[in-house]
Amino acid sequence: VRRLGAVATACVVASAVVVGHAAGAEGRLAAPCVGDALKPKVRLETSRRVAVLGEMMDFVGRRADPYGLNAAHVETLRRDREALQTLEARITSVCYGSLAEFRADAERVFVDYRVYWLRLPQTYGLAAADWLAQARAALGAAADKLEPLAASNAQAMTALGTMRDRLAAADGRLGAAPTPAPILASAVALRPARDMTANDAALRALHQALVATRAELVAAHAAGLEAIAAVRAAAG
């Protein structure tokens, strides 16, 4: 038994020496990779963002694009998606030797792309601007057709004047298609940043302009209905 125990001890010591030598010879091969436990979470966040970018590309790509901004935005989204896929592959394959190295790559998923904080509001802002531009065009066409019918009716002309004022106010906020107002064009051109203070302010300004533009157009719609009612009332 003693002999067997001595042999076993010798084997353990010998194998430890061999492994230690091999590890020393090939650097960190046997050392555990830092951040492996956190990789699934980062991969999940990355794949979610890749999926959202793809959805946004489809979402914007189907739009009418009255301001001519969508193609460039879709291209930006496509580049972001490809870069994120490359980054995801890198994070999956690299064995990080330190937490700092791992965090540097993991942070890029969040900071370098700002998919939710920047790209999503930009995309929704563009889509909303598209809808609003189409509604504005339809209301403008209706106002033009209403003009001769309301010409001899003071009440209808007053309502039509209100309608045109509201349409002009809407144009002043987002721009008359196909020319976007600076607030829209600059918000779509924003780039991801570590400090998002300025970007956030620009996005909030765009959001407020969208809300106000929609309110102007709703008011223009109501004024148009009022003008039609006045013409009908006069016709008996």
Binding site: P121, Y124, W131, A138, A142, G224
Partner: protein, 122 residues
Amino acid sequence: LRGSGRIAKFPGAHRAARRRSAAILASLVVLAGPASFAACGRDEPEAGPGATAAPTTTTRPAPSTRPTRAPASTSATTAAPAADLDALERELAAAKALLDDAAPEVANADPATGRAREGSAP
């Protein structure tokens, strides 16, 4: 006949009775003359020789008293604006639908939602 209720049951008998009444009335007019007939205060058309042969005194309105349509020109001028206004109302409804479609996207353009979702590296 009227008292016996046969008028309602036998319209043919009614017509025969009316025909007889008309014949009697015509013969009375011939005998008494139109002037004396008019003096009775009846609000009947002045009966002439041709009228005596008329078998009935129906009250169907003469063609001239039927309701008439408005002149064609007036109808056209009121119909055209009405159709135009209907079309304009449809255009406004389509524009309103676009505004309704825009509402959720305007709301989603608020960066506050995305900022909360963005998170940070672990």
